[in-house]
Symmetry: D2
Amino acid sequence: MIIMKKDATEQQIQHAVDEVARAGLRTDVSRGQYLTIIGLIGDETRVDFTHLAALPGVKEARMIQAPYKLINREYSSAYGETGTRIVKVGDVQFGAPEPVFIAGPCAVENRDDLFRIAEQCKAAGAHILRGGVFKPRSSVHSFQGLGSAGHDEAIEALTWLREAGRTFGMPVVTEVRGEAQVDLVAEFVDIIQIGARNMYDQDLLQTAARKKLPVMFKRHFGASVEEFLCFAEYIAAEGNKDIILCERGIVPMGKGKNYTRYMLDLAAVPVVQKETFLPIIVDPSHATGRRDLIRSMSLASIAAGAAGLMIEVHDRPEDARCDASQMIQPSELKEIIAAARQLRTIALK
Amino acid sequence: MIIMKKDATEQQIQHAVDEVARAGLRTDVSRGQYLTIIGLIGDETRVDFTHLAALPGVKEARMIQAPYKLINREYSSAYGETGTRIVKVGDVQFGAPEPVFIAGPCAVENRDDLFRIAEQCKAAGAHILRGGVFKPRSSVHSFQGLGSAGHDEAIEALTWLREAGRTFGMPVVTEVRGEAQVDLVAEFVDIIQIGARNMYDQDLLQTAARKKLPVMFKRHFGASVEEFLCFAEYIAAEGNKDIILCERGIVPMGKGKNYTRYMLDLAAVPVVQKETFLPIIVDPSHATGRRDLIRSMSLASIAAGAAGLMIEVHDRPEDARCDASQMIQPSELKEIIAAARQLRTIALK
Amino acid sequence: MIIMKKDATEQQIQHAVDEVARAGLRTDVSRGQYLTIIGLIGDETRVDFTHLAALPGVKEARMIQAPYKLINREYSSAYGETGTRIVKVGDVQFGAPEPVFIAGPCAVENRDDLFRIAEQCKAAGAHILRGGVFKPRSSVHSFQGLGSAGHDEAIEALTWLREAGRTFGMPVVTEVRGEAQVDLVAEFVDIIQIGARNMYDQDLLQTAARKKLPVMFKRHFGASVEEFLCFAEYIAAEGNKDIILCERGIVPMGKGKNYTRYMLDLAAVPVVQKETFLPIIVDPSHATGRRDLIRSMSLASIAAGAAGLMIEVHDRPEDARCDASQMIQPSELKEIIAAARQLRTIALK
Amino acid sequence: MIIMKKDATEQQIQHAVDEVARAGLRTDVSRGQYLTIIGLIGDETRVDFTHLAALPGVKEARMIQAPYKLINREYSSAYGETGTRIVKVGDVQFGAPEPVFIAGPCAVENRDDLFRIAEQCKAAGAHILRGGVFKPRSSVHSFQGLGSAGHDEAIEALTWLREAGRTFGMPVVTEVRGEAQVDLVAEFVDIIQIGARNMYDQDLLQTAARKKLPVMFKRHFGASVEEFLCFAEYIAAEGNKDIILCERGIVPMGKGKNYTRYMLDLAAVPVVQKETFLPIIVDPSHATGRRDLIRSMSLASIAAGAAGLMIEVHDRPEDARCDASQMIQPSELKEIIAAARQLRTIALK
């Protein structure tokens, strides 16, 4: 990384960028309020940092040891006192003191259900509306979301989602499961979600990142924290640092039952905050797969320092075509949001 | 299990016990304030529950499906409104609304350090003093605790621990690592600890359980929740249900770093509470191995519903012979206890 | 599944297909030498199997309980005595008594290296040539394969691969990492590889399957065997059952070192053979990441019943831009192939 | 470690030992046919190796970096050409070219069954007889072995085991599950087994090691290879290096089924051989829990380089009180032994 002096000129910045390019690497220029920092993309061992440090306008130039460089905590000085990049989605701010709540049904199934649930989520205090259109499923024999039923169905479902969001004043987020869906989805949503199963899919990550929309990026259930951050780096390397990380549990281990679908790794929340400047939220719904554990794991996530929660909500879960056992009622959501807000103020001290 | 009628006589209870014995099983009789419940120890498939249900004084008789029967949540009616058995250690109550804090150094190394740390832990709000005398270690080449240096050293260290506890008004807990240590340790402590590495050691569990002292029982880092509870059942089958369960993290998984020693499975906290009537606490020190994560994981544990915490504390960690990197200062303990108490009231609602 | 009588007419088959379609499901018709079997794609609980069983020409109709139905071992009767589908690639037969050896460098880097290595692999006894053009990498800062350098570079590398294969009489295989690469790659190769990281990427699987080329499908390092087969089912549901499964190790677990990159799950080899009719091979190179373990794990794989091996080979590994530590010399490949052939005859008895 | 010169005198050896003792460490002196090597037990960083290297009669003195030092491969020069220590049990040699087969029922249940099975195992080619007397079980409600029924029953079962061994010319092995059983078991057996669940039980390891009988030491199902070897070091540190390591599978991981009880880590076989001089065998019975996988995993183990196998055998498994689903018939054992012997000659080349 190269940190420019406060009074560095545009010409000096360009000069530094050109010098890096001469070594065969690309650059990523962060112009913060206080500092301009140049990140290097490529094999840093090919760069002479002593030379770079001596360029006019350069305050400091050095290699970042961690494999994730562009999202590294070493850049936190660019992000003010807390060192966390605030990812803004309309009026909503991920990474700010106020926790963010994303809520909605597992899948968009029809207009009426979606609007009714969206209204109740808003009333419960949620900020952002979620709803799956392209559903990743373990079985080809299961419902894959309306998006997989055909192009028209995909547009219809995405239109409902956008309208429900606008009607009730909530930005919307949905998942892209494959590269071919990115262009379409990007027209309708405020945040593009990359699901856990696609975390390693670097081509999808790059395609989504180029849309310049905020990306919600979920950790794969077989990935270490280090790998998680290495793949977030793929998004940042496209010049998009509006990344909201999401912990959602890793695969269970051991002989016998753990009684949850996945195992929530909450230590990943403070660890990620020490390793990067990106905000991280938690999805307790997929992590546990159990309605009766959502409240306790939501509170635990906020207490661990999560910047928000993504929770599946449905007022008639028995009618839902997927994840019926993990969706909570809007009334429970309201209670969780109230408790989480109280906890957040204690946790942030 | 057999639930007796409220007005069942001792003779009727004994009759039921005798009938179970005729089928070749042992029994465990719980005389609660309201109900008497008879647990069966052995192969329940050999018992005719229809016959038992028809005995005089018997209200209900049925098989418990889970492999842990004596500690099963189905007995919760014996434990009042919350359904949680309160494990009492002096004035301290595990499972009550007030969270319990156990603190102290990793190992008892000398009298001065122990007394100084104990005093500071008490001042910070801790209820119980911990200190290892027999240390389980991965390397035979490392310090194994004073207890392994010889019989005299073991007695000396245990004496310091007991005295420090008495001096500052704290019950004490230490680990037994092998069967040969149980008699000695039981003379000095208020709680016997079975460490994670010994969770599967059924002979040690039975030997320790027979001392009739409360047992702090830690989950092995390779065990599922189901296995954890199956082995707690070994303690209960000796007639000792004063068991305090402790989650302390499972082995990390994945390629690359997770940046913590183990992976804390906080969903185990509410899960265990739904499966048994036993209280469960969390040990964030061994789970993370990092001082800078203790606060956030302590708060997350309490928010998840833990009945208490066990935290390693040292005012001069650089002098310690083990776990130097994970012990926090007494001042930080104080701050954590204050925040945890606030959180507990919100989490319990 | 519906098994038709031996003398069932085309009209009767079509009638059965139509009846399934009326319930809203798709079908997959397997016309074996002896039997015609109709697989159902979709939610089987919506089908009345009693009704189907009574249709003219139908011998048997029933639900398959496993979540993978089209590749289920229950269809093995369609595949002769061994019950294994032989996947043919030119003269090479996966699933036949003779084991198949795939060899070549990690990545296609330049024409000379590729041709020289290909020639030596052929001489050592390899049947199929491998070489990565689109490399999945954990770090965006690492070499991603020539395919990621641009469209022209991709075509050039693919052309070399095809030519090297033709020159030395070996079909070729390379990996597609994203949907956008499928059309291009399919023009050049004999087998399309889906790498471990993309196992869960159902859109990529479907896109690749439609090319009607054999698909080599690797197990994700965080996937259970059940999940592995569930995703292979996505390929089969596109009407492509020329699937070669590949075990390549799951993520290591535990505190401390295992001294290998992944953990090879060789029991998966016989298990998969009992669950499906598909052939399965093993990749010891990525599983271990260590040149000095390739021989022993190759022999173990064949002894476990693997139908073949995929091994990375390079005569000058120190020059390679990836996986230098795991590639073996052609001379060692030759020795492994000879020993593996001997073992296979013993293992198959 | 300190390597003495070939012509070093006893006095010089003693001098070196004394110098190590002055630094507060213990020593372990290996007098091989060619070389005398002194291992250090304790914290090596407290030793001045430059000083030791300059002592009379000392050829070389240096620190071993791995945490397991006494069993380290660096001592292999003391063990002849193969570098593997041959552990002798009567005429049987673990680590020699001929593979060793241990067979017998899961548990010793009665005299007749044991003798009948023992005779058949011997006829099938087995070298050593196994049979559990103290059974580690997940449930306190299950059969725990005759040893747990009382002292007399333990003696009776152990007597049968010893007699069956003598009658059919096979050394015998059984497990000690707790420290209190070691004295008794050691009177009756030729090899003491430490089961997987007790791997971390350092006090039991030390107690067993002191009996100076060969110890069969199984890897815990949650342990890394590094941890496995660290705990084997506890046995060696008692002066007992007649250790036979045993791989028996680690806990399964992932969402969904793997169709085996544990996951056999066969790469551990060659890895252990590169890290230590100890022989390693494999137990496919507990690893898979499935009779129909024993043959393929036995062959794979031998192909991976295992020095032997431990297989559960019963001619009437339906009558057995534990592990009925994994015990094979004597006839299958015979076939496996024949195939394994052929494989071993190929694998060893």
